[in-house]
């Protein structure tokens, strides 16, 4: 067991190192000089003023040392939890920008992913043995899942938000409200949250349901299922075994979904003007904000690795074959 996890951890550490390094490299290959852009915005005319400001910003952002040292400083910063200062929202530190955006993104995605996974699997398994459902309802989700998400989201914002006026579109809570613990504020928050949530939920739900349906049908046709029913086991029991087996790939899928949680929110947040991490990514790219981009990507990398790690553990718990494989020497 320890060996299994030891090996896994080593792989994770290595992945983390490489991902973070690439993460550091990519923004630096982007065109445009962020310090120059910042100084330019200041509109200083005298060369002395420009030079003074360049020097100040360069040292503040650590651009005044050799590249290898910048790289080391970057790692030092990560270990200290200091991700630097944002260029875009100068002089706000990257960490506080990210912390401000994270609750919104997670609040949107975690319920959407978990609920759609849970409901989708239930529904898919159920549909697999109900001809009516299989023929009538599931095709709707084939269409939904195949629809480009961007388009679906815009359509929803337009139809439910603008035309029907059921839900507000844009920003996490109304501009006229003071954030506080009150019924007014909470209902407002929820009504702003609902549309983006629904759009994510619907699309993901269809995906899970379709996957589950196919898996269950496949499992029900497997030899062990036939053998079990020929032994006289009740259909309910057979289905339960089939469901458990069909669930395994879905768990992997869930892990991947949870990992890329942030990336998945970019389009949603832009369409619904919901200013979480995804929105921040776009802004950071537009403004060549190295530090903010690095910070967010770091967050994504950690998310993916953590999710994978959790799934490794869950696998051990739910799949006896993994447990067996771990025990024997290989």
């Amino acid at each position: 067991m320890a060996r299994y996890f030891g090996r896994k951890l080593l792989i994770y550490a290595l992945t983390f190192f490489v991902a973070v390094t690439i993460n550091w490299l990519i923004p630096r290959f982007m065109p445009g000089d962020p310090v120059r852009a910042m100084v330019a915005r200041a509109g200083l005319q005298t060369p002395e003023g420009v030079a003074a400001m360049r020097e100040y910003y360069s040292s503040l952002f650590g651009f005044d040392v050799p590249v290898w040292q910048q790289y080391l400083n970057f790692w030092g910063g990560i270990l200290r939890g200091d991700l630097g200062v944002s260029l875009l929202a100068f002089p706000e530190p990257v960490t506080s920008l990210i912390l401000g955006a994270v609750p919104l993104t997670l609040g949107l995605l975690i319920p959407a992913i978990l609920l759609s996974w849970w409901a989708g699997n239930k529904f898919g398994a159920y549909a697999a043995r109900k001809k009516v459902l299989d023929n009538a309802v599931l095709p709707v989700w084939y269409v939904l899942t195949a629809t480009p998400y961007m388009w679906l989201a815009i359509l929803m914002a337009w139809a439910l938000g603008k035309v029907a006026g059921l839900f507000p579109v844009g920003r996490p809570y109304s501009a006229s409200l003071v954030p506080e613990w009150s019924w007014l504020f909470i209902t407002d928050l929820v009504s702003h949250w609902f549309l983006p949530f629904l759009s994510l939920f619907l699309v993901a739900f269809g995906g899970w349901a379709i996957g589950m349906r196919n898996m269950v049908i496949y499992e029900l046709e497997a030899d062990y299922a036939h053998y079990l029913s020929s032994l006289g086991a009740p259909p309910k029991l057979v289905r339960r075994y089939a469901f458990r087996n069909a669930l395994l790939p879905q768990i992997t899928g869930l892990a991947l979904q949870l990992g890329v949680i942030v990336g998945g929110a970019v389009v949603t947040e832009i369409v619904f003007d919901y200013r979480g991490l995804g929105y921040l990514v776009l802004e950071a790219i537009k403004a060549t904000d190295f530090f903010l981009l690095q910070g967010i990507f770091l967050f994504i990398v950690i998310g993916v690795l953590l999710a994978n790690f959790v799934i490794d553990i869950v696998y051990v718990l739910v799949d006896p074959r993994t447990r067996a494989g771990m025990g024997g020497d290989r």
């Binding site: 445009g32 319920p111 006229s176 409200l177 954030p179 007014l184 949250w193």
Partner: protein, 574 residues
């Protein structure tokens, strides 16, 4: 199943709400409206802030949270570009006591919002900050000798070389900061600090901010109520961070935004459509002209280093098409001098008639032929005089759709005249880079806003010396010492010497119109769309409406827009 669902969603939502309020908690402040800003007492604005408000530093005049200067920090004077008048604000009076000395007297009993009195020491301190190299008005100290407080309310400035125009610009544009809170700050804090919890003197105070908004609350003790008889009407001013212009438009139509200073193409149709929308002019161009969009040729590169070629290019641009089809008539074509309509009196019309240019493809062709540019390889496009092909690009920042589209029109016009010009749309940071380093053929630029003096525009066109990096002026690197001397002569002309100013400006325009170092194309509008659903009496050019610049843009509150807030009236409730 469905029912169970609903509860689950509700449960999770509440949990989420809890998480979010947990984070934002404590920021709410003492909003009196029981958790919300009462709609009838709140002014919602948008169109200035493109990222979360993160600093309230009046010295960082390119990035401070909307309203920092104007609502909180104030200037000695106000300058109204529509009337051309200076109006004493913090100052009671300001005069040149002799050619080299300027004295300013503050009003009586001014206080900062923390209760400390505002004195001449604060004014002197603020001017002294300019000695720091990275303060935007560092230039001041090249001709300013000393600044001293004569008494409690009077400050005296002695100039080694009086530049009346620039100084007049400073006294209305630059906010005064409290010495007692700023004197211990390092240069870094002064020019790059966030200055949280700003303490100013103006009609509003900081209330709250979030990723997507900045909230100001009325300062009931504002000095201007008595001294000026001005009472700002909105209790709260909420400035919303822009996401997109489209979003701003839909919120404006829904009456959720009262004043949108976003660029909203197509607004011309909506104004007439009964949406309770208001613009400064009720017909084209709807907006006041805020700045001039110039096409900047790189005058160090052939063939753009040839004035004759630049003139042919200027003649090839179909500005009318840009105004009508790209902008839907919310802009207007620029005068060949590029001076804004507010400076009309400074334009020597006869000279413009003689030397100006207008869209005329055939004229452009003949100018090219006269100057010796011929099509030697028969592709319909002219070649350089030495026979090498001409390949010019016009760079506009990607995503600036109106400029991208205008650039396409310009390129089309140039091609029709035989000039091989293509439009390019790199990222805006790249455009900024090449603009400064001079690594471009042609770009568009519109950085200079309406102001107290045409000197600001002429300095922008002719500014010397050429540096390795051109940060604010003369991006085309046009060198003409004679013109630059005239610009400085203009700077040293007293602001009430209109005849003297006109004479110098006319000479400068003669150079500008014959040499065409930059090609003015159209006047960008002071984008301003207001909704009459909650507030009325917005500035307009007709009726009893106030004649003021209707915008929250940085730098405009001290150009008179602050008075708009006192002129607003609550809409009658149906």
């Amino acid at each position: 199943m469905r029912n169970r669902w609903r509860y689950l969603v509700l449960l999770l939502s509440v949990g989420l709400a809890a998480a979010c309020t947990g984070v934002d908690g404590g920021e709410g402040g003492d909003g009196e409206g029981g958790g919300s800003y009462p709609r009838a007492q709140t002014l919602f604005t948008s169109g200035t802030q493109w990222g979360a408000p993160v600093n309230w530093n009046p010295i960082m005049n390119w990035t401070y949270a909307t309203g920092t200067v104007g609502l909180v920090y104030e200037t000695l004077f106000l300058h109204d570009p529509l009337t051309g008048e200076f109006e004493p604000w913090l100052a009671e009076s300001g005069d040149w006591t002799n050619d080299n000395t300027y004295e300013v007297t503050l009003r009586e009993e001014l206080t900062w919002t923390d209760g400390e009195p505002i004195t001449a020491e604060d004014v002197v301190f603020t001017v002294n900050l300019g000695e720091m190299k990275s303060v935007p008005y560092n230039e001041l100290w090249k001709f300013l000798d000393s600044a001293e407080a004569v008494d409690e309310r009077t400050a005296r400035f002695t100039f080694s070389e009086p530049r009346y125009q620039q100084w007049a610009n400073w006294v209305y544009f630059s906010p005064i900061v409290p010495k007692h809170l700023w004197e211990d700050r390092s240069e870094k804090d002064v020019t790059a600090g966030a200055n949280e919890n700003p303490v100013g003197s103006g009609p509003y105070k900081y209330e709250a901010h979030d990723q997507d908004r900045q909230v100001w609350v009325k300062n009931d003790d504002w000095w201007g109520k008595e001294a000026l008889g001005l009472d700002v009407k909105p209790r709260y001013v909420v400035d919303l961070v822009n996401s997109s212009n489209e979003a701003a438009l839909s919120q404006l139509l829904a009456g959720e935004i009262d004043l949108s200073n976003n660029f909203l193409p197509g607004i011309a149709d909506l104004v007439k459509g009964g949406y309770k929308l208001h613009t400064y002019f009720s017909q084209a161009p709807y907006m006041l002209a805020a700045n001039t969009t110039w096409m900047v040729p790189n005058t160090t590169r052939a063939p753009l280093n040839d004035p004759a070629f630049r003139r042919a290019l200027a003649n090839s641009v179909d500005v009318g098409k840009i105004v009508n089809s790209v902008y839907g008539q919310i802009v207007s074509p620029a005068d060949p001098t590029g001076l804004l309509p507010i400076w009309d009196e400074y334009i020597d019309k006869a000279q413009v008639d003689r030397l100006g240019y207008s869209f005329d493809t055939n004229r452009a062709k003949s100018l090219l032929a006269q100057a010796g540019y011929r099509d030697t390889n028969g592709d319909g496009l002219v070649e350089n005089k030495d026979g090498s092909p001409i390949e010019l690009t016009l760079a506009t920042p990607s995503g600036w759709t109106d400029w991208n589209e205008s650039a396409r029109v310009i390129a089309e016009g140039a091609k029709a005249a035989g000039i091989n010009l293509t439009s390019e749309t790199p990222a805006d940071t790249v455009v900024q880079d090449i603009r400064e380093s001079g690594d471009f053929d042609l770009i568009l630029d519109n950085q200079r806003q309406m102001d107290n003096t045409p000197w600001r525009y002429l300095e922008y066109v002719f500014g010397l010396p050429i540096r390795e990096s051109q940060t604010t002026v003369n991006y085309g690197r046009y060198e003409n010492q004679q013109a630059w001397d005239l610009v400085n002569q203009l700077d040293a002309t007293k602001i009430d010497d209109r005849a003297g100013m006109k004479a110098v400006i006319s000479r400068l325009h003669r150079i500008q119109l014959t040499e065409l170092p930059m090609i003015p194309l159209w006047y960008n509008g002071l984008w301003s769309q207001a909704s009459n659903s909650v507030w009325t009496n917005w500035p307009a050019d007709s009726g009893d409406a106030p004649r003021l610049v209707p915008t929250m843009w940085r730098g405009y509150l001290q150009r008179g827009a602050i008075k708009m807030l006192a002129e607003l009236r609550p809409a009658e409730q149906q």
